[in-house]
Subunit: 154 residues, 2 copies
DNA sequence: CTTGAGCTTGTACCTGGGTATAAGCCTTAA
DNA sequence: TTAAGGCTTATACCCAGGTACAAGCTCAAG
């Protein structure tokens, strides 16, 4: 009985998530413990670690938990379901490609701004701040639930 | 008195956002109307359109509204604030670069999966589904507030 | 055997970024 | 002039994806 079994805390730590998150994923149907002890402790194995890492990776990649669940739930011998997975992959690939293009564009823009920022030590800093100047509002302590700590230098 | 002024609905429509979102941005200090009518109607101009589009673009690029607010609030003639902006840009550039690399990796992985999906019309579909098989949980109608409609084919 | 860390379930709350609704005033076209 | 639609404020709610806390059970080290 080699100790391949992990308890929830060990699994969580191994994957850099909280134990509560792991239980959440289970409730959402994403990751089931491989067993439970007689006292109800969840037990996981090395494949669970892989699976959880996959979940986090997929999540970072723009899949929602619901989509990940759909992927994980696909009945492998169901042609139609398999087709649905393919369709999902295609959609995600497309979205990912678009996003890559957009982010690359933004990166270029930011890079340009950053350069401009360095280039001119005059009174007016980056070009794009011209955009803001007539538009930025006061921090409005009234309804501003957010932005509370942004410029706390009064 | 050329009609350069827009009312909130016109601005919103021009930028593909809701009027409520525009008011939200105002409360958060991101976008102030250039004027108000005697009856309290918000008025905007062409630069507001640019600004709002900038906000949306920055948002899509991974800036939070809070960060956008910080950018917009920077006092242009304050050296320190300007430095803060530079730092923010640097951080975002870095994050963006990392994210680009990660997404590209994911894209490659998905692409591979998609190929595998097509390649083998056997009983076992994409390789990565092996990950799931021992782990995917039942849809657990108990606590599952999400995933409610995922596989409604019982 | 006790004590503290770790596990259980359950419920409540949080954050970001909104949307929905209400109650009422304004504007405009018919 | 009146009715529709747009605007105002204010408050409530929604969603995803968690976190926090409570009350109680369990395990392991000293």
């Amino acid at each position: 009985m080699s100790q391949t079994h992990l308890k929830i805390g060990e699994l969580a730590k191994a994957c850099g998530v909280s134990d509560q998150a792991v239980r959440l994923y289970e409730r959402l149907g994403l990751l089931k413990p491989v067993a439970k002890t007689s006292k109800g402790y969840r037990l996981y194995d090395a494949a669970s670690v892989e699976a959880l890492r996959f979940i986090k990776q997929a999540q970072r990649s723009g899949f929602t938990l619901e989509e990940i669940g759909a992927l994980l739930h696909t009945d492998i011998r169901d042609e139609g379901a398999c087709a649905a997975v393919k369709a999902l992959l295609d959609r995600k690939l497309y979205a990912l490609t678009e996003r890559l293009v957009e982010l690359q564009g933004v990166k270029d823009v930011l890079h340009g701004l950053r350069q401009a920022c360095d280039g001119e030590p005059g009174p007016v800093c980056p070009a794009f701040l011209r955009l803001c100047t007539p538009h930025c509002a006061v921090p409005d302590p009234n309804g501003a639930r957010l932005l509370h700590e942004v410029n706390h230098e009064d």
